[in-house]
Symmetry: C2
C-alpha cells in the first residue's frame, strides 16, 4: 500500500532537511541568455532548473499555465518534465481547479491519473461537492485556496461573513471561514490550504483556526513575503500533518530560484540556480 | 477592426434565433454505442456533436477538463475541435481559470491566443487583479463564476457578507456581492457572469444587481433547471449587452443534447443529436 501524501512529504522533508517547494513557472520573457523564447527554450530551462534544484527541494510544483500557454505541445513538455521527478519527491500540480460533479471527476483523472500529480491546488468557490473527487483519494492531496499572495487578494477573501449559529462558526473574514469549513472537508488527511506569505498575520490566524491542515505557502522570494512568520506558524500543530518532519509545511519559491539577480558569480545558469536553491533550502529548514 | 465579443454573439444569436450554447463535455462513460471509450471515441463523438448541433447554436462551449483528462493528446484533440468552429460562432473555453499576476497573463495566452477562445470562464476568489489579463482585451470576454449550478454551491456563495459603507454596498450574500463587484471590473463590456438555472430566484436578484452584465447560464437540461425564469431574467437590461439580439444571454445545454433519452427515433446518433439541439434551440428563443 502507498503511504499517504503527508507521510511521503514528511519523509522527503526529513531527507532534505527543508520545507522548500521548488516552483517551476517558466516564463519565456524571463529566460536567461542562451535560451530561445519558445517552447524549446522553456522546456530546456525548466528541465535544467529541476535537475539543478531538486537535491534541495522537498517537493516540486509546476504551475500548469506556463505549459498550457504552448497548447498541447506545452502540455506534452510538462508530461516529460513530470517523468523526470523521482517517485519519492511529491509533485504538486498548481492548477487551481474545481468544477461541478462530473467535470471535477475528469479533472481528477487529468491531474492524478494522467499527469501523475501527488497533490493539486483547487478553488473553494463552488464548495466541497465540487472538489470532492480531488480530495477523495487517500494517497493524494488537495490544497484549497484560502488567503492568496496576490495584490487585491482581499477583495473577496477579506469580506466579513456573518455568524453561522447552526454550524457554530463566528462572524469572520471569508478566508477564515474557508479555513474553518475546509477543516471539515474530505475523508481525512487529504486536504490542506494555500496561504500566502504576504499576509503573515492572516497566516497565524488561519493556523489557529485549522491546526491540522497542511499549508502550501507562496509569496516569499519575488513577492516579498517574510520567512520567519511562515516558519513560526506554517507547520501544523495537530493531526497527521503535525506528526512528520516539517509539519506538512511547503514554502514555494519559483522566481527566487529561477531568476538571476543583479550579481551572479557563475557563468553556468544552472550552477546559479543550484546556488540559489541551496540558499533557499537553508533559509527554509525543517523546524518541527 | 474586430467587433467586440458581445456584438459577435448578438449577430450569431440573430442569425440562429436562439440563445442556446452548445456545451461539449464528452465523458467516455456516456458515449453512445459504437464509440470506443478512449480519446479516439471521444474525439469522433465530439466532432459529430459539433457538426450536427452547430446550425442550432449561438455559441459553442467545451469544458477543457474532458479533453485534459487525456493529457497532451486530449488537448491536441481540443485544438482540432476548435479549428472546426467557424469564426462567426463564439467559442467559449470553460476553464474556470484565474491566478496571480504573471500566471494569469500566461492563461490568457493559452486560452485566447493559442486555443483561440472568444470567451472564457474564470473564478472570482482571487479578486479582479488576478483575472485582469483575462478581461482586459476589447475583443474577448470573461464570464466570472457568480452563483453556480452545482449541489452545494451555496456553501460559500450564499454566505452573508457585511455591509461595505465605503463602496456603498449593502449586507448581502457573497454571490450578490460578487455580481456587484464584477460590474465594476474591466475596461467595459469584457466581463459577464456565470449564473446557474438551478437557482432561479438568485438569478433574478443578480440580474437586478447587475443589469448590464451578460449571463452564461448552465443547469437546464440534465441538471433540471427551469427555462422560463432564465428567459425572463437572463437577458441584460442595460448597457451594450442589452442592445443586441439575445441580450447577451447564453443558456448552456451539454448532456441534454449529447445524451440519448429512453426512446430515440433514429438509428443515427448524430441525427438524434441534431433533433435534440433543434428542440433546445426552439425552447431557448431570442426574446429581446
Amino acid at each position: 500500500m502507498t503511504a499517504g501524501y503527508l507521510a511521503r512529504l514528511a519523509a522527503r522533508s526529513a531527507a532534505t532537511g527543508t520545507v522548500l517547494c521548488l516552483g517551476i513557472d517558466p516564463d519565456p520573457a524571463r529566460l536567461p541568455a542562451g535560451f530561445s523564447r519558445d517552447l524549446d527554450g522553456v522546456e530546456r530551462f525548466a528541465a535544467g532548473v529541476l535537475e539543478a534544484a531538486l537535491p534541495f527541494a522537498a517537493a516540486v510544483k509546476p504551475n500548469l499555465a506556463f505549459f498550457e500557454a504552448f497548447g498541447s505541445a506545452g502540455v506534452a513538455a510538462l508530461e516529460r518534465l513530470r517523468a523526470k521527478v523521482p517517485a519519492d519527491v511529491p509533485f504538486v500540480a498548481d492548477a487551481k481547479r474545481g468544477d461541478i460533479g462530473t467535470t471535477a471527476t475528469r479533472q481528477a483523472v487529468a491531474l492524478f491519473d494522467v499527469l501523475g500529480a501527488d497533490a493539486v491546488t483547487v478553488s473553494p468557490y463552488l464548495g466541497e461537492a465540487a472538489v470532492a473527487p480531488l480530495l477523495g483519494r487517500g494517497d493524494r492531496y488537495a490544497y484549497v485556496l484560502c488567503r492568496t499572495s496576490n495584490d487585491g487578494a482581499g477583495e473577496l477573501q477579506d469580506l466579513v461573513v456573518a455568524e453561522d449559529t447552526n454550524a457554530k462558526m463566528p462572524a469572520e473574514r471569508l478566508h477564515e471561514r474557508v479555513a474553518r469549513r475546509v477543516a471539515t472537508w474530505g475523508p481525512g488527511d487529504t486536504v490542506g490550504l494555500v496561504v500566502g506569505a504576504t499576509a503573515p498575520e492572516e497566516l497565524a490566524t488561519i493556523r489557529a483556526i485549522a491546526p491540522a491542515l497542511a499549508f502550501l505557502v507562496p509569496g516569499v522570494g519575488a513577492q516579498g513575503g517574510a520567512v520567519d512568520p511562515v516558519l513560526a506558524h506554517g507547520p501544523a500543530t495537530a493531526g497527521a500533518a503535525a506528526v512528520g518532519s516539517g509539519g506538512g509545511l511547503l514554502v514555494n519559491v519559483s522566481r527566487g530560484i529561477a531568476d538571476d539577480g543583479p550579481e551572479e558569480a557563475s557563468d553556468d545558469p544552472f550552477e546559479r540556480v543550484a546556488t540559489r536553491a541551496r540558499e533557499w533550502a537553508r533559509r527554509l529548514p525543517v523546524l518541527r
